[in-house]
Amino acid sequence: MSRRLIVIVGLILALLAVANVTGLLAPFQNISRAITVPIARSFSSAGRGIGTWLSRPLEISELTEQNVDLRARLDSAVVDYVRLRALEEENRSLRAMLEFEDESDYDFVPARIISRSSDEGRVEVLIDRGSRDGLEVGMAVVAEGGLFVGKITELQPRISRITLVSDEQSRIAASTAGRHALIGVIEGRGNGTANLTLIPQQIELNPDDIIVTAGTEEKIPANLPIGLINTVEGQQTDPFKHASIEPLLRIEGLDLVLVLRSSALRPESANQ
């Protein structure tokens, strides 16, 4: 290889490094993203389709085991459901009596996942919405069924990085359903599971208790379902106990998500 070529490539590398660090590349990167995001979106859809097709034969035994477990959970959930429906009916009639106007402070911004991390321990995805859609770092992201997915940890004009609950670096303030108080912090373990830590000894937790967001973080509302308690561990003499959590959400099937954006941050164009 000629010395001239080495010098030219070296110079290009140095310029690129400087431009990258100083942010000079940002406008060019934004234009490139604007052009390539639709292609990336189609590629990720195709990737999910191929992934589902490829993993189907491998999952049969896993699915059978999961089916038995879910049936058991369904039986207990049915009882809860009947009770909750009765309470919901009662609540509705009471709200009507009080002429209560149900106003949510959040808009749901739909977004598609265009890439995800393939590194061990990291459970992060990129979505095709960014700061130009009024999103901010720290906002909560939920799946279509309302399950908590994670929060925005990095923002670009057209894309955002979401760190999911089971990511090793994820920390989410948590509570149990109906408690309305912080009981601990969910720390991701990177392998699709998470731990609920710093639980005071006096808090009583049982397997299959539903863990929800505590609402103590500024941009994450309370009561977004996260997962179920698997096991609770810790000696009576310890100041805190911890529990392993099984997230309700499976990342494999995740395609569309909703970002909870405070209605105050709605872009001007969306109000018209």
């Binding site: 290889m1 490539v9 590398l13 990737g47």
Partner: protein, 174 residues
């Protein structure tokens, strides 16, 4: 280099990079370990298409930096450096044009890439107290297995379907 070839190379680089960031992560093991960019660079270097190799390295690295969720610290710089390293090795060390030389080249390049990420991670941790994820040797091993298969098949394709490595009978030179 003809403009049409440049456009072709840019399109190939874009498709391959988008495959790595938007398709491969959604595939189950072991399919998700197929990362073809380095294999393509090795094949381009093996057939002496240096300019094409630099175009593919630059464009695919740029796209990886745009969309990757981690572990691709300054991919454009990494790929350009790796291409230069491949060319030097190809010109001075692995001088014979064989499938074995190409496989050795891709495996060496993959190891050098891993070392680059590990060193960058160390420097970033010391200077900026930030983290860059370094892939485990086990996952690098899986990627290397795919690299070997891809380069071997690519090389076989060039041998059987092009005149690139045509062996001319000695009698014709007499």
């Amino acid at each position: 280099m003809k403009p049409l070839r440049i456009i072709g190379m840019i399109l190939i680089a874009m498709l391959v990079a988008l495959y790595e960031v938007s398709v491969a992560p959604f595939l189950p093991m072991p399919w998700n370990a197929f990362h073809p960019i380095l294999g393509i660079l090795v094949l381009l270097v093996a057939i002496e298409k240096r300019n094409s190799a630099f175009i593919v390295a630059g464009v695919s690295g740029f796209l990886l930096d745009l969309y990757s969720t981690g572990g691709t610290f300054f991919a454009v710089g990494r790929f350009l450096l790796l291409t230069m390293m491949m060319m030097t090795l190809n010109a001075h060390v692995l001088t014979n044009r064989s499938v074995y030389a190409s496989i050795t080249l891709v495996l060496l390049t993959r190891m050098f890439d891993w070392i680059w990420i590990a060193v960058a991670s160390l420097i970033v941790a010391l200077l900026f107290r930030s983290t860059i994820h370094v892939p485990s040797l086990e996952s690098v091993g899986r990627v290397m297995a795919w690299d070997t298969a891809f380069v071997a098949l690519g090389f076989a394709f060039f041998v059987f379907f092009t005149k690139r490595f045509l062996i001319v009978p000695r009698t014709r030179h007499r």
